[in-house]
Symmetry: C2
Subunit: 303 residues, 2 copies
C-alpha cells in the first residue's frame, strides 16, 4: 500500500491503517518519513500516563478509565509498555489479561510496545506512535507502564498528565519513596480504597501535595476501586482539567522542545555503525598506545 | 588536585584518588579527558555482572564471591547499580545493607551508581568507571544490578561474564521467562540451594543450557547457599574460566566496538541542547504548517 492511501486511511480513523502505520514507523521502513511529515500537531488531545509500583492496579484502572471515557462518547487509544526484562513476572502477564476485554470494545485501540534495552526506558518510537494515534481521530491516549525500572520517570516526559497509582499499604513505604514520585505526579490515585488505611494514606498524600503546589495546579488525591469501576469518572475529569494547563504557549514550547531533543538524540544514535567502528578498531587496537577514549573522540569527529 | 597527581594516585591503587577520579568523570568536570586519555586497555581483568530477579540473593552472592576472591589474595571492586525508579522497595535497601560489611574489608572497593532516567538503563559512566577501576590495580570487577527493568539485558553488553542468579522457586516461572535469560547467561546460579526443588530446577537449566552451548562454552549451572558462603569458590573458578574466552582477538574487537559505539552515542546525545531547540521552536511552531518531524530533521542537520 502506498503512503497516500495509508495516510488517507489513518486520517479517516481506520484502525488497520493506524496499526500498519505504527509498524512501519517502528521498523523505520517503507514510507515512514512521508507518513510522519503528513502528521498534524494536535496538542488538544490529552496524553495521560498511568504509572505506579507493580500490584497497584494500573491495568484495572486503565480499564475503568477507558470505560468511563467510552461511555461519554470518546475514542480511547491505549499504549501498554511491556518490559524487556528477561525475567517475566506472572503478575505482569496477569495485568495484560485483565485488559483483554478492552480489545473487543468499540472505540478502543490497544497497542502493546516493548520497552527497549539499549537506549532509554520506554518504547523506541513512542512519540511517533502517539502522533499517529492523534491523527487517527482518537480523543485520548492512555499510556500504561509496567511499574518497574525507569519508565516511571520517563513517562512524565512524554505524557501531558502523569497519574501515579498506589495502594493503601504503600503508606508505610511512602516515607522512603524518592522525591521523584512527588515530582512526576500530576494526579495521585489511591486504588483499592476499600482496604484499611486508604483515608489516612490519602490524607498524607494531600499534605505532601499541598506543600508542592504551584499557582496553577495542586495534584489532587483521588480514591478509586478500579476493579468495581468506582472513582473512574472523577479521575477522567481531573485528567481533562490538568490537560488544559498544558495548552499554554510556554508549556507547549517546553514539551515540544523536549520531544524534539529526544527525536534528534534517537536519530543521532542510529548513525553510529558498530561494524564500521569494528573495522577501524581492528587496525588501531594492535597499537601498544591504544586508548579507547582517544579512539572514541576520533570516531565522534567523523560521525 | 591536578590531573597528573590524580593519575599517579590512581595508578598506585590509592582508593581515594580512584573515588575522586570516578566523581570527576561522572560529572564530566575538571581534568576528565586527561584522566581518560591516560588509561590503559586492560582486557585481562575480568568484569562479571551479577543479575537476576529481586529476592534471588544477588547481594549475598556478591558478598560470598568477594570473600572468596579476597581469600585468594585478590583485590575486588564492586559496582552496585541502584535504581532511579521513584518507587523504592524495602528489599532493595535491605540488599545494600547486607553488603555493608564489605565496606570495611581490606582490598575491597565499593561504588554505588544510580541507574539513569533518560538515556539507557545502567549508570551513565559505567564504562569509564570500570576502566578507572582496572587502572587502579584491582583484579576483578563485579557489577551488581537491581534485578528490575532493563539493566539485566544491558549488563550483558558491559560485563565479560554474566552470572544469572535464581532461586529454586523460579523453576515454576522459568517456562514463561523470555529467551533473553538464556541468551545473556554465561553462568547460571541456583542460590538458596537448600530449598526444595533446587536439584530439579538445576537439572532443567542444564538441559536448556546443553541446547544452546557453543563449541567453546556451555553455561554451567552452579548451586550456592550464598548466605552460608557455600558454592562461592566454584563460581569464582567458573568466572575466571569464562573470562579466558573473552581474550581472543575477535571477541575483544566485538566487545570494544560495542563499547566505542556506546560512548559515541553518549557524546552525541550530549550535543543536543534543549534550550536552543526551544528558541527555534518558538519561531517555527506558530506556523500553521508546522510539522515536528520536518523540524527534527532540520535540527539534526545542524547538530
Amino acid at each position: 500500500m502506498d503512503a497516500a492511501a495509508l495516510i488517507s486511511g489513518l486520517k479517516q480513523g481506520d484502525t488497520k491503517s493506524l496499526a500498519r502505520c505504527i509498524s512501519l514507523v517502528e521498523n523505520n521502513s517503507g514510507p515512514c518519513e512521508a507518513l510522519l511529515f503528513s502528521l498534524q500537531h494536535r496538542p488538544e488531545i490529552p496524553v495521560a500516563g498511568i504509572t505506579g509500583p507493580p500490584g497497584a492496579g494500573k491495568s484495572s484502572l486503565v480499564n475503568a478509565l477507558t470505560h468511563s471515557f467510552v461511555a461519554s462518547g470518546k475514542k480511547v487509544a491505549i499504549i501498554a509498555v511491556d518490559p524487556t526484562s528477561p525475567f517475566n513476572y506472572g503478575s505482569l502477564l496477569g495485568d495484560r489479561l485483565r485488559m483483554s476485554e478492552l480489545y473487543l470494545t468499540p472505540g478502543v485501540f490497544i497497542r502493546s510496545m516493548a520497552s527497549r534495552g539499549s537506549l532509554g526506558g520506554l518504547a523506541p518510537k513512542i512519540h511517533e506512535t502517539i502522533d499517529l494515534i492523534k491523527n487517527a481521530g482518537f480523543d485520548l491516549v492512555l499510556i500504561e507502564t509496567v511499574g518497574v525500572g525507569q519508565s516511571e520517570v520517563e513517562i512524565a516526559g512524554i505524557a501531558d498528565t502523569t497519574v501515579v497509582v498506589m495502594v493503601p499499604e504503600a503508606g508505610d513505604e511512602v516515607q522512603t519513596m524518592k522525591s521523584g514520585v512527588m515530582e512526576i505526579a500530576d494526579i495521585f490515585v489511591v486504588n483499592k480504597a476499600d482496604r484499611e488505611g486508604a483515608d489516612a494514606f490519602a490524607g498524607h498524600l494531600r499534605r505532601l501535595s499541598a506543600q508542592k503546589h504551584t499557582a496553577k495546579w495542586m495534584s489532587p488525591v483521588l480514591l478509586t476501586e478500579a476493579h468495581r469501576n468506582i472513582g473512574a469518572a472523577p479521575l477522567a475529569e481531573a485528567i481533562n482539567a490538568h490537560h488544559q494547563l498544558n495548552l499554554s504557549k510556554e508549556k507547549q514550547l517546553d514539551l515540544m522542545a523536549e520531544k524534539t531533543a529526544h527525536l534528534v538524540r534517537e536519530a543521532l544514535a542510529r548513525k553510529v555503525q558498530v561494524h564500521r567502528i569494528r573495522e577501524r578498531l581492528s587496525i588501531q587496537m594492535a597499537h601498544p598506545d591504544f586508548n579507547l577514549y582517544r579512539f572514541t573522540r576520533e570516531i565522534l569527529q567523523d560521525t
